[in-house]
Protein backbone atom coordinates (compact mmCIF):
# COMPACT_ATOMS: atom_id res chain seq x y z
CA UNK A 1 0.00 0.00 0.00
CA UNK A 2 2.76 2.38 1.01
CA UNK A 3 4.59 1.39 -2.11
CA UNK A 4 1.70 2.39 -4.32
CA UNK A 5 1.46 5.73 -2.61
CA UNK A 6 5.14 6.31 -3.20
CA UNK A 7 4.93 5.41 -6.83
CA UNK A 8 1.99 7.71 -7.31
CA UNK A 9 3.64 10.64 -5.67
CA UNK A 10 6.79 9.95 -7.67
CA UNK A 11 4.83 9.91 -10.93
CA UNK A 12 2.98 12.98 -9.85
CA UNK A 13 6.12 14.91 -9.13
CA UNK A 14 7.66 13.89 -12.44
CA UNK A 15 4.55 15.12 -14.20
CA UNK A 16 4.75 18.42 -12.37
CA UNK A 17 8.42 18.84 -13.13
CA UNK A 18 7.70 18.20 -16.83
CA UNK A 19 4.77 20.59 -16.75
CA UNK A 20 6.64 23.42 -15.17
CA UNK A 21 9.65 23.29 -17.48
CA UNK A 22 8.33 26.19 -19.44
CA UNK A 23 8.16 28.39 -16.37
CA UNK A 24 11.69 27.42 -15.48
CA UNK A 25 12.95 28.82 -18.76
CA UNK A 26 11.17 32.06 -18.12
CA UNK A 27 12.77 32.44 -14.76
CA UNK A 28 16.07 33.38 -16.33
CA UNK A 29 14.58 36.59 -17.64
CA UNK A 30 12.71 37.46 -14.50
CA UNK A 31 14.45 39.12 -11.59
CA UNK A 32 12.55 37.24 -8.87
CA UNK A 33 12.69 33.55 -8.20
CA UNK A 34 11.06 31.26 -5.67
CA UNK A 35 12.23 28.00 -4.24
CA UNK A 36 10.83 25.39 -1.89
CA UNK A 37 12.27 25.99 1.60
CA UNK A 38 12.66 22.24 2.05
CA UNK A 39 14.41 21.95 -1.33
CA UNK A 40 12.09 19.10 -2.31
CA UNK A 41 13.06 19.64 -5.91
CA UNK A 42 16.66 20.55 -5.32
CA UNK A 43 17.71 23.76 -6.99
CA UNK A 44 14.52 24.10 -8.97
CA UNK A 45 13.03 27.58 -8.86
CA UNK A 46 9.78 29.24 -9.94
CA UNK A 47 8.93 32.72 -11.13
CA UNK A 48 5.62 32.97 -9.28
CA UNK A 49 4.96 32.57 -5.56
CA UNK A 50 3.08 29.27 -5.08
CA UNK A 51 3.32 26.19 -2.94
CA UNK A 52 5.79 23.39 -3.44
CA UNK A 53 4.08 20.61 -5.41
CA UNK A 54 5.69 17.98 -3.20
CA UNK A 55 5.57 19.14 0.39
CA UNK A 56 2.91 21.86 -0.14
CA UNK A 57 4.92 24.47 1.74
CA UNK A 58 4.93 28.02 0.41
CA UNK A 59 7.83 28.72 -1.90
CA UNK A 60 10.32 31.21 -0.53
CA UNK A 61 11.63 34.15 -2.47
CA UNK A 62 15.34 33.81 -3.09
CA UNK A 63 17.64 36.53 -1.86
CA UNK A 64 19.94 36.31 -4.87
CA UNK A 65 19.02 39.69 -6.30
CA UNK A 66 19.37 41.70 -3.12
CA UNK A 67 22.79 40.17 -2.56
CA UNK A 68 24.05 41.54 -5.81
CA UNK A 69 22.51 44.92 -5.21
CA UNK A 70 23.87 45.28 -1.69
CA UNK A 71 27.41 44.28 -2.45
CA UNK A 72 29.48 42.73 0.27
CA UNK A 73 26.93 42.70 3.06
CA UNK A 74 23.66 41.12 2.18
CA UNK A 75 20.60 42.57 3.89
CA UNK A 76 18.95 39.56 5.47
CA UNK A 77 15.35 39.17 6.56
CA UNK A 78 16.19 40.07 10.15
CA UNK A 79 18.21 43.15 9.30
CA UNK A 80 17.19 46.57 10.61
CA UNK A 81 18.22 47.91 7.21
CA UNK A 82 14.83 46.69 6.00
CA UNK A 83 13.35 49.71 7.73
CA UNK A 84 12.72 52.48 5.23
CA UNK A 85 12.30 55.35 7.68
CA UNK A 86 14.34 58.53 7.21
CA UNK A 87 16.15 60.19 10.11
CA UNK A 88 17.95 63.45 10.83
CA UNK A 89 21.41 63.36 12.39
CA UNK A 90 22.84 65.89 14.83
CA UNK A 91 24.38 67.57 11.78
CA UNK A 92 20.91 67.95 10.23
CA UNK A 93 21.69 65.42 7.55
CA UNK A 94 18.91 63.07 6.35
CA UNK A 95 19.84 59.41 6.45
CA UNK A 96 18.28 56.00 6.18
CA UNK A 97 19.54 53.27 8.47
CA UNK A 98 20.89 51.24 5.58
CA UNK A 99 23.51 53.91 4.97
CA UNK A 100 25.14 52.57 8.14
CA UNK A 101 25.59 49.17 6.51
CA UNK A 102 29.06 47.72 6.80
CA UNK A 103 29.79 49.02 10.30
CA UNK A 104 29.21 47.34 13.62
CA UNK A 105 26.53 49.37 15.40
CA UNK A 106 25.96 49.92 19.10
CA UNK A 107 22.55 51.49 19.63
CA UNK A 108 20.61 52.96 22.51
CA UNK A 109 17.41 54.99 22.87
CA UNK A 110 17.58 58.10 25.04
CA UNK A 111 16.17 61.60 25.37
CA UNK A 112 18.32 64.58 26.14
CA UNK A 113 16.18 66.15 28.86
CA UNK A 114 16.35 62.94 30.90
CA UNK A 115 17.88 63.45 34.30
CA UNK A 116 17.65 59.97 35.77
CA UNK A 117 18.75 57.00 33.72
CA UNK A 118 19.99 58.49 30.46
CA UNK A 119 23.19 60.06 31.83
CA UNK A 120 24.10 56.63 33.16
CA UNK A 121 23.12 54.96 29.89
CA UNK A 122 25.32 57.43 28.06
CA UNK A 123 28.15 56.74 30.48
CA UNK A 124 27.66 53.04 29.72
CA UNK A 125 27.90 53.78 26.00
CA UNK A 126 31.05 55.80 26.55
CA UNK A 127 32.63 53.01 28.58
CA UNK A 128 31.89 50.50 25.84
CA UNK A 129 33.36 52.92 23.30
CA UNK A 130 36.52 53.28 25.36
CA UNK A 131 37.01 49.56 25.95
CA UNK A 132 36.29 48.55 22.37
CA UNK A 133 38.62 51.24 21.08
CA UNK A 134 37.94 50.70 17.41
CA UNK A 135 37.31 53.51 14.95
CA UNK A 136 35.13 51.31 12.73
CA UNK A 137 32.37 50.88 15.28
CA UNK A 138 29.50 53.38 15.20
CA UNK A 139 27.55 54.41 18.27
CA UNK A 140 23.97 55.40 17.50
CA UNK A 141 21.74 57.25 19.97
CA UNK A 142 18.10 57.48 18.93
CA UNK A 143 15.89 60.03 20.62
CA UNK A 144 12.53 58.86 21.98
CA UNK A 145 11.47 62.49 22.27
CA UNK A 146 11.72 63.73 18.67
CA UNK A 147 9.65 66.81 19.39
CA UNK A 148 12.14 68.21 21.90
CA UNK A 149 15.28 66.64 20.50
CA UNK A 150 15.79 68.55 17.28
CA UNK A 151 19.04 68.13 15.36
CA UNK A 152 20.30 71.39 16.96
CA UNK A 153 19.53 70.14 20.43
CA UNK A 154 21.17 66.79 19.69
CA UNK A 155 24.24 68.61 18.39
CA UNK A 156 24.52 70.62 21.61
CA UNK A 157 24.09 67.47 23.62
CA UNK A 158 26.79 65.71 21.60
CA UNK A 159 29.23 68.56 22.15
CA UNK A 160 28.44 68.76 25.89
CA UNK A 161 29.10 65.06 26.25
CA UNK A 162 32.17 65.03 24.02
CA UNK A 163 30.52 62.71 21.59
CA UNK A 164 30.81 64.88 18.55
CA UNK A 165 32.96 62.94 16.15
CA UNK A 166 32.04 60.64 13.27
CA UNK A 167 31.68 57.60 15.48
CA UNK A 168 28.72 59.05 17.32
CA UNK A 169 25.42 59.43 15.52
CA UNK A 170 22.37 61.01 17.11
CA UNK A 171 19.06 60.45 15.34
CA UNK A 172 15.76 62.28 15.30
CA UNK A 173 12.82 60.59 13.55
CA UNK A 174 9.06 61.01 13.34
CA UNK A 175 6.99 59.89 16.34
CA UNK A 176 5.76 56.93 14.32
CA UNK A 177 9.20 55.87 13.11
CA UNK A 178 10.63 56.10 16.61
CA UNK A 179 7.84 53.82 17.84
CA UNK A 180 8.59 51.39 15.05
CA UNK A 181 12.30 51.50 15.76
CA UNK A 182 11.75 50.90 19.48
CA UNK A 183 9.86 47.77 18.52
CA UNK A 184 12.81 46.55 16.51
CA UNK A 185 15.05 47.02 19.55
CA UNK A 186 12.38 45.61 21.90
CA UNK A 187 12.71 48.85 23.83
CA UNK A 188 9.58 49.99 25.65
CA UNK A 189 8.82 53.58 26.47
CA UNK A 190 5.99 55.79 27.55
CA UNK A 191 5.64 59.53 27.96
CA UNK A 192 4.66 60.17 31.56
CA UNK A 193 4.71 63.97 31.50
CA UNK A 194 5.51 66.54 28.83
CA UNK A 195 9.24 66.30 29.51
CA UNK A 196 9.62 62.87 30.98
CA UNK A 197 9.62 59.40 29.56
CA UNK A 198 9.82 56.06 31.18
CA UNK A 199 11.87 53.68 29.06
CA UNK A 200 13.78 50.42 29.02
CA UNK A 201 17.53 50.62 29.46
CA UNK A 202 18.79 48.42 26.69
CA UNK A 203 21.99 48.74 24.66
CA UNK A 204 21.85 46.75 21.43
CA UNK A 205 24.71 45.53 19.25
CA UNK A 206 24.16 44.96 15.53
CA UNK A 207 26.45 43.20 13.10
CA UNK A 208 27.63 44.74 9.82
CA UNK A 209 24.50 43.48 8.08
CA UNK A 210 22.20 45.13 10.61
CA UNK A 211 21.16 41.95 12.43
CA UNK A 212 20.75 42.14 16.20
CA UNK A 213 23.66 40.32 17.82
CA UNK A 214 23.56 41.14 21.50
CA UNK A 215 21.57 43.16 24.00
CA UNK A 216 22.68 44.48 27.37
CA UNK A 217 19.84 45.19 29.77
CA UNK A 218 20.01 47.39 32.80
CA UNK A 219 21.97 50.38 34.02
CA UNK A 220 25.63 50.35 34.95
CA UNK A 221 25.83 46.60 34.43
CA UNK A 222 29.10 44.83 33.74
CA UNK A 223 29.83 45.48 30.06
CA UNK A 224 32.52 42.82 29.58
CA UNK A 225 30.26 40.60 27.48
CA UNK A 226 28.99 43.48 25.36
CA UNK A 227 32.54 44.67 24.69
CA UNK A 228 33.61 41.13 23.78
CA UNK A 229 30.64 40.80 21.40
CA UNK A 230 31.47 44.07 19.65
CA UNK A 231 35.09 42.99 19.28
CA UNK A 232 33.98 39.64 17.88
CA UNK A 233 32.00 41.41 15.19
CA UNK A 234 34.76 43.78 14.16
CA UNK A 235 37.28 41.02 13.55
Amino acid sequence: MKNIYFRFSFLFSILLVLNSCSSENNSQNSSLSYKCPMECEGEKSYTEPASCPICRMDLRQMEKDSKIAMGEFEISDESIFNLTSTWKTQNNKSIELKELKGDVLVMVMIYTSCKAACPRLIADMRNIHKKVDNKDVRYVLVSIDPETDTPERLKEFAIENQMDDEQWIFLQGSVDDVREFSNVLAVKYKQISPLDFSHSNIISVFDKGGVLYHQQEGLGVDNTITVAKVKELTK
Binding site: P49, S79, S182, V184, K188, Y189, H199
Partner: protein, 254 residues
Amino acid sequence: MIRLIILLASVLLSLAGRSQGPTEMKKINGGTFVPLYGSDSSGVFVDDYMLDIYPVTNQQFLDFLKTHPKWKRSKVKRLFADGNYLIKWENDSTLGDKVNPNSAATSISWYAAKDYCACQGKRLASMDEWEYAAMASETKANAQTDSIFNLMIIESYELPKTYKKEIGSTYKNYWGIYDLHGLVWEWTSDFNSVLISGESRQDVDTERSLFCGSAAINASNLMDYAAFMRYAFRGSLKANYAIQTLGFRCAKSN
Protein backbone atom coordinates in the same frame (compact mmCIF):
# COMPACT_ATOMS: atom_id res chain seq x y z
CA MET B 1 -40.70 32.03 -2.06
CA ILE B 2 -40.09 35.68 -2.81
CA ARG B 3 -39.38 36.28 0.85
CA LEU B 4 -36.86 33.48 0.79
CA ILE B 5 -35.09 35.03 -2.17
CA ILE B 6 -35.00 38.42 -0.52
CA LEU B 7 -33.65 36.84 2.63
CA LEU B 8 -30.95 34.98 0.72
CA ALA B 9 -30.04 38.07 -1.24
CA SER B 10 -29.74 40.17 1.89
CA VAL B 11 -27.61 37.53 3.58
CA LEU B 12 -25.34 37.40 0.54
CA LEU B 13 -25.19 41.16 0.39
CA SER B 14 -24.31 41.49 4.02
CA LEU B 15 -21.58 38.88 3.63
CA ALA B 16 -20.20 40.63 0.59
CA GLY B 17 -20.48 43.99 2.29
CA ARG B 18 -18.43 42.83 5.22
CA SER B 19 -15.74 41.07 3.32
CA GLN B 20 -14.93 43.81 0.86
CA GLY B 21 -13.90 47.39 1.11
CA PRO B 22 -12.98 49.31 4.19
CA THR B 23 -14.87 48.85 7.41
CA GLU B 24 -17.38 51.47 8.45
CA MET B 25 -16.20 53.75 11.25
CA LYS B 26 -18.00 55.37 14.14
CA LYS B 27 -17.03 58.46 16.04
CA ILE B 28 -15.91 58.15 19.63
CA ASN B 29 -16.46 61.35 21.60
CA GLY B 30 -13.31 62.06 23.56
CA GLY B 31 -13.03 62.63 27.26
CA THR B 32 -10.94 61.96 30.30
CA PHE B 33 -10.61 58.55 31.89
CA VAL B 34 -8.28 56.71 34.23
CA PRO B 35 -6.58 53.80 32.50
CA LEU B 36 -5.10 50.95 34.50
CA TYR B 37 -1.54 52.02 33.74
CA GLY B 38 0.25 55.01 32.51
CA SER B 39 -0.94 58.00 34.44
CA ASP B 40 -1.11 59.39 37.90
CA SER B 41 -4.62 59.46 39.32
CA SER B 42 -5.59 62.57 37.35
CA GLY B 43 -6.49 60.55 34.27
CA VAL B 44 -5.72 60.71 30.61
CA PHE B 45 -7.41 62.86 28.00
CA VAL B 46 -8.49 61.16 24.79
CA ASP B 47 -9.42 63.36 21.84
CA ASP B 48 -12.39 62.64 19.54
CA TYR B 49 -11.49 59.98 16.99
CA MET B 50 -13.00 57.49 14.57
CA LEU B 51 -12.83 53.73 15.12
CA ASP B 52 -13.62 50.78 12.84
CA ILE B 53 -16.83 49.17 14.00
CA TYR B 54 -15.42 45.66 13.35
CA PRO B 55 -11.97 44.10 13.57
CA VAL B 56 -10.31 43.61 10.17
CA THR B 57 -11.38 40.26 8.70
CA ASN B 58 -9.38 37.52 7.04
CA GLN B 59 -11.11 38.32 3.73
CA GLN B 60 -10.15 41.99 3.98
CA PHE B 61 -6.58 41.09 4.78
CA LEU B 62 -6.49 38.66 1.86
CA ASP B 63 -7.71 41.44 -0.44
CA PHE B 64 -5.01 43.71 0.95
CA LEU B 65 -2.33 41.17 0.08
CA LYS B 66 -3.31 41.31 -3.59
CA THR B 67 -2.16 44.91 -3.77
CA HIS B 68 0.56 44.67 -1.12
CA PRO B 69 2.39 41.43 -1.85
CA LYS B 70 5.29 42.24 0.48
CA TRP B 71 3.03 41.14 3.34
CA LYS B 72 2.38 37.69 1.85
CA ARG B 73 3.48 34.85 4.06
CA SER B 74 6.13 33.70 1.62
CA LYS B 75 7.58 37.18 1.19
CA VAL B 76 7.36 38.85 4.56
CA LYS B 77 10.69 39.69 6.20
CA ARG B 78 11.44 37.96 9.49
CA LEU B 79 12.18 41.34 11.06
CA PHE B 80 8.52 42.23 10.53
CA ALA B 81 6.74 38.94 11.24
CA ASP B 82 7.71 35.72 12.98
CA GLY B 83 7.18 32.19 11.72
CA ASN B 84 3.55 32.05 12.87
CA TYR B 85 2.50 34.80 10.50
CA LEU B 86 -0.78 33.80 8.77
CA ILE B 87 0.09 30.29 9.76
CA LYS B 88 -3.39 28.79 9.31
CA TRP B 89 -3.82 30.09 5.77
CA GLU B 90 -3.61 27.46 3.08
CA ASN B 91 -1.20 29.59 1.07
CA ASP B 92 -0.48 33.17 0.04
CA SER B 93 -3.67 33.60 -1.92
CA THR B 94 -6.08 31.09 -0.33
CA LEU B 95 -7.53 31.12 3.14
CA GLY B 96 -8.41 27.42 3.03
CA ASP B 97 -10.81 25.39 5.18
CA LYS B 98 -9.37 26.32 8.55
CA VAL B 99 -9.84 30.05 8.15
CA ASN B 100 -13.23 31.75 8.10
CA PRO B 101 -13.20 34.79 5.78
CA ASN B 102 -15.55 36.63 8.13
CA SER B 103 -13.57 36.04 11.29
CA ALA B 104 -11.12 38.59 12.61
CA ALA B 105 -7.75 38.41 10.86
CA THR B 106 -5.27 37.03 13.38
CA SER B 107 -1.70 35.71 13.34
CA ILE B 108 -0.70 39.10 12.01
CA SER B 109 2.28 41.09 13.28
CA TRP B 110 2.15 44.69 14.50
CA TYR B 111 4.10 45.90 11.47
CA ALA B 112 1.61 44.30 9.07
CA ALA B 113 -1.39 45.62 11.01
CA LYS B 114 0.12 49.10 11.06
CA ASP B 115 0.77 49.06 7.33
CA TYR B 116 -2.71 47.72 6.57
CA CYS B 117 -4.28 50.67 8.39
CA ALA B 118 -1.86 53.17 6.83
CA CYS B 119 -2.83 51.93 3.37
CA GLN B 120 -6.51 52.66 4.15
CA GLY B 121 -5.59 56.17 5.23
CA LYS B 122 -6.06 55.07 8.83
CA ARG B 123 -3.84 54.09 11.72
CA LEU B 124 -3.90 51.77 14.71
CA ALA B 125 -5.63 53.15 17.79
CA SER B 126 -3.37 54.14 20.65
CA MET B 127 -3.66 52.06 23.78
CA ASP B 128 -5.46 54.87 25.62
CA GLU B 129 -7.90 55.33 22.72
CA TRP B 130 -8.58 51.63 22.59
CA GLU B 131 -9.13 51.30 26.32
CA TYR B 132 -11.35 54.38 26.27
CA ALA B 133 -13.65 52.90 23.62
CA ALA B 134 -13.54 49.48 25.25
CA MET B 135 -14.75 50.66 28.63
CA ALA B 136 -18.17 51.33 27.09
CA SER B 137 -20.86 48.76 27.67
CA GLU B 138 -24.00 48.47 25.56
CA THR B 139 -25.61 51.35 27.39
CA LYS B 140 -22.89 53.37 29.12
CA ALA B 141 -19.87 55.22 27.74
CA ASN B 142 -17.97 54.42 30.90
CA ALA B 143 -18.80 51.06 32.42
CA GLN B 144 -15.54 50.73 34.36
CA THR B 145 -17.45 50.37 37.60
CA ASP B 146 -20.23 48.20 36.20
CA SER B 147 -19.60 44.84 37.80
CA ILE B 148 -21.82 42.92 35.40
CA PHE B 149 -20.03 44.36 32.38
CA ASN B 150 -16.65 43.54 33.93
CA LEU B 151 -17.79 40.03 34.70
CA MET B 152 -18.92 39.64 31.08
CA ILE B 153 -15.40 40.59 29.91
CA ILE B 154 -13.71 38.18 32.30
CA GLU B 155 -16.04 35.40 31.25
CA SER B 156 -15.31 36.06 27.60
CA TYR B 157 -11.58 35.64 28.34
CA GLU B 158 -12.35 32.18 29.69
CA LEU B 159 -14.03 30.97 26.51
CA PRO B 160 -11.76 28.95 24.22
CA LYS B 161 -11.22 29.71 20.54
CA THR B 162 -13.28 32.88 20.35
CA TYR B 163 -11.05 33.99 17.46
CA LYS B 164 -13.04 31.56 15.30
CA LYS B 165 -16.26 33.52 15.78
CA GLU B 166 -17.39 35.85 13.02
CA ILE B 167 -17.07 39.58 13.45
CA GLY B 168 -20.18 41.26 14.83
CA SER B 169 -21.08 38.18 16.85
CA THR B 170 -20.57 39.76 20.26
CA TYR B 171 -22.14 42.92 21.65
CA LYS B 172 -22.47 46.39 20.13
CA ASN B 173 -21.30 49.02 22.56
CA TYR B 174 -22.46 52.52 23.39
CA TRP B 175 -20.47 54.01 20.48
CA GLY B 176 -21.74 51.45 17.97
CA ILE B 177 -18.49 49.48 18.00
CA TYR B 178 -18.62 45.66 17.95
CA ASP B 179 -16.39 42.96 19.39
CA LEU B 180 -14.01 45.01 21.53
CA HIS B 181 -14.24 42.21 24.06
CA GLY B 182 -15.07 38.60 23.44
CA LEU B 183 -13.46 37.91 20.07
CA VAL B 184 -9.73 38.60 19.85
CA TRP B 185 -7.06 40.74 21.52
CA GLU B 186 -6.18 43.75 19.39
CA TRP B 187 -2.93 45.48 18.46
CA THR B 188 -2.55 49.09 19.51
CA SER B 189 -0.03 51.53 18.07
CA ASP B 190 1.90 51.94 21.33
CA PHE B 191 1.43 48.49 22.87
CA ASN B 192 5.11 48.57 23.84
CA SER B 193 4.56 51.37 26.31
CA VAL B 194 3.51 48.88 28.97
CA LEU B 195 6.53 48.92 31.23
CA ILE B 196 5.97 45.69 33.01
CA SER B 197 7.94 42.63 32.13
CA GLY B 198 6.05 39.97 30.28
CA GLU B 199 6.88 37.22 32.65
CA SER B 200 3.86 36.95 34.89
CA ARG B 201 5.69 35.97 38.04
CA GLN B 202 7.72 39.17 37.81
CA ASP B 203 4.75 41.42 37.27
CA VAL B 204 4.33 42.10 40.96
CA ASP B 205 7.07 44.66 40.59
CA THR B 206 8.39 46.54 37.62
CA GLU B 207 12.02 45.88 36.97
CA ARG B 208 13.70 48.94 38.30
CA SER B 209 17.06 48.33 36.71
CA LEU B 210 15.50 47.83 33.30
CA PHE B 211 13.11 50.75 33.23
CA CYS B 212 13.87 54.35 34.00
CA GLY B 213 11.17 56.02 36.07
CA SER B 214 9.23 52.81 36.48
CA ALA B 215 8.11 53.79 39.96
CA ALA B 216 6.01 56.55 38.39
CA ILE B 217 3.82 54.05 36.66
CA ASN B 218 1.54 52.14 38.91
CA ALA B 219 -1.78 50.45 38.47
CA SER B 220 -4.74 52.69 39.23
CA ASN B 221 -7.41 50.13 39.99
CA LEU B 222 -6.25 46.89 41.48
CA MET B 223 -9.69 45.32 41.07
CA ASP B 224 -9.78 45.57 37.30
CA TYR B 225 -8.55 42.07 36.60
CA ALA B 226 -9.58 42.12 32.93
CA ALA B 227 -7.52 45.23 32.32
CA PHE B 228 -4.56 43.63 34.10
CA MET B 229 -4.80 40.73 31.69
CA ARG B 230 -4.85 43.03 28.66
CA TYR B 231 -1.90 45.11 29.85
CA ALA B 232 0.10 42.06 30.87
CA PHE B 233 -0.58 40.52 27.48
CA ARG B 234 0.55 43.70 25.71
CA GLY B 235 3.61 43.84 27.92
CA SER B 236 4.59 40.37 26.77
CA LEU B 237 4.35 41.13 23.05
CA LYS B 238 7.00 41.93 20.51
CA ALA B 239 6.05 43.68 17.29
CA ASN B 240 6.94 40.76 15.03
CA TYR B 241 4.84 38.27 16.99
CA ALA B 242 1.95 36.72 15.08
CA ILE B 243 -0.54 35.18 17.49
CA GLN B 244 -3.71 33.31 16.75
CA THR B 245 -5.79 35.21 19.28
CA LEU B 246 -4.48 38.65 18.36
CA GLY B 247 -6.14 40.73 15.63
CA PHE B 248 -6.57 44.44 15.00
CA ARG B 249 -8.84 47.22 13.80
CA CYS B 250 -8.05 50.68 12.52
CA ALA B 251 -8.72 54.16 13.83
CA LYS B 252 -8.46 57.65 12.44
CA SER B 253 -8.01 61.07 13.94
CA ASN B 254 -11.16 63.09 13.68
